[in-house]
């Protein structure tokens, strides 16, 4: 948890002052959104909350719902 907080404090310190100085607001917005997503995912991992896997969803859609799959070897 402490490592996670330090990591994101570092990421913000490295990027945000430069973005504000150059008045790159669009970059700052996208950076902030990605940072929030990354932090929430990191927090879920640290707190042992299951992170949904996109591949598991795709596997369910392609194999179970659409029935497209190769036979078991």
């Amino acid at each position: 948890m402490i490592f996670l907080l330090f990591a994101y404090a570092f990421i913000i310190t490295v990027n945000v002052p430069g973005l504000i100085k150059r008045k790159e607001w669009r970059e700052l917005t996208v950076f902030s959104i990605l940072c929030i997503i990354a932090f929430v995912l990191g927090l879920m991992y640290v707190l042992d909350i299951p992170v949904p896997s996109p591949m598991r969803g795709l596997q369910h859609l392609i194999v179970d719902i659409l029935g497209i799959k190769y036979p078991e070897n």
Partner: protein, 368 residues
């Protein structure tokens, strides 16, 4: 407006493509479980099947000089549909990068550093890739030949050291497996090492001259395919039928090197080579991902996105599969099926639409 200011020489593209394909050397193991001793055949067949599609990537990149695929999508499909197609590309880059990062983690946790926490391996590796991406494509291209030479050296030297243990009757019988398994193997090969070269649609736009882009892409592809073929032949000739039971066939075959009891335990060579090659492949994927996201949102630079994307990648890599068996199972089915339209339908379709609509108009107008 292009996000990338760095330029790549035409001959550097050759090394980039060859090193990138070589970076998939670890992933041959996914096919070994399906096609067993006929893996060398599916590598060749995969190359033949994917060659026309890779040609379409190169022609597309050449037609839209100086543009990456996100810009091309906006131009060809319009702003809305173009963005939808671009999101598909970004999803593919995001997921494939996380699989490759996970591959390195699994390699280390299984063979080299079993007591190290998995997440720290992923963080260390992703941070290194992020550093490379921060430096830009020009720097990666300038050192690309070193990655290729390292990979080739290890592949050829281990092949030579194992010649005395090879039994070429392990390749027989030649056409034993059912067609569906061969088909799955060809699909796997055309998707993973070769189809993934779709990532170059984000890179070829940075070429300073596109004259020899198609030729160099194909030479690079051929060098990469030969490397995969040598590895596959080596593993089958050394391990025979038993290759299907090992987690990593390359590691297992290299462990058998014993030259006068002096040259033994050479598996560290494979560890080094595979780390270096996957690092190179991941860096190219990471670069493509960062530039694609920045281009999608119309940003001036991709650099602020590198570290947050690295954070997302680490967690996806750590949680996307439950185990190496789960990893192999999903990759052999949904993993290669969901990406098929992206690799085999969208680029040729984009090229066709561009040809019908006479795009890009201003460029062609200038030429005329």
């Amino acid at each position: 407006m292009s996000i990338e200011k760095g330029k790549v020489c035409s001959w550097q593209l050759l090394f980039l493509v060859a090193g990138f394909v070589q970076g998939s050397v670890l992933l041959i193991d996914f096919a070994v479980g399906i096609t067993e001793h006929q893996t060398w055949m599916v590598i060749l067949a995969g190359l033949v099947v994917s060659a026309p599609f890779i040609l379409s990537y190169a022609v597309l990149a050449k037609r839209f000089q100086g543009m990456n695929v996100i810009q091309v999508n906006d131009l060809v499909y319009g702003r809305f549909l173009g963005k939808v197609v671009s999101v598909y590309y970004i999803f593919f880059y995001l997921m494939t990068l996380s699989f490759n990062i996970r591959d390195v983690g699994e390699l280390y946790i299984t063979f080299l550093m079993p007591d190290t926490p998995f997440i720290f391996l992923l963080i260390g590796f992703t941070a290194t890739c992020a550093y490379a991406v921060y430096k830009g494509i020009e720097v990666l291209a300038r050192v690309s030949h070193l990655f290729l030479i390292t990979g080739m050296f290890v592949i050829i030297s281990t092949f030579a050291l194992l010649i005395d243990q090879m039994d070429f009757s392990n390749f027989l019988p030649l056409f034993e497996l059912p067609f569906i398994r061969i088909f799955q193997g060809i699909h796997l090969m055309s998707a993973i090492p070769f189809g993934e070269t779709i990532v170059f649609l984000m890179i070829i736009g940075s070429l300073n001259k596109t004259e020899h882009a198609i030729r160099n892409t194909f030479i690079g592809l051929l060098i990469g395919a030969i490397s995969l073929l040598i590895v596959s032949v080596r593993n089958t000739a050394v391990l025979g039928k038993t290759q299907t039971i090992w987690t990593s066939t390359s590691f297992q075959s290299i462990r058998l090197i014993d030259i006068g009891t002096v040259l033994t335990r050479m598996d560290f060579l494979i560890g080094i080579a595979q780390t270096v090659l996957i690092f190179f492949k991941c860096s190219l994927f990471f670069y493509a991902l960062a530039v694609a996201v920045a281009q999608l949102f119309g940003l001036k630079s991709y650099l602020p996105l590198v570290l947050p994307l690295a954070g997302i990648e680490v967690i996806i890599a750590a949680t996307v599969f439950q185990s190496p068996v789960d990893h192999a199972g999903i990759t052999q089915n949904a993993g290669i099926i969901y990406s098929a339209p992206l690799m085999f339908v969208i680029p040729p379709l984009t090229l066709l639409i561009a040809k019908i609509r006479g795009l890009p108009r201003h460029e062609r107008g200038k030429d005329a």
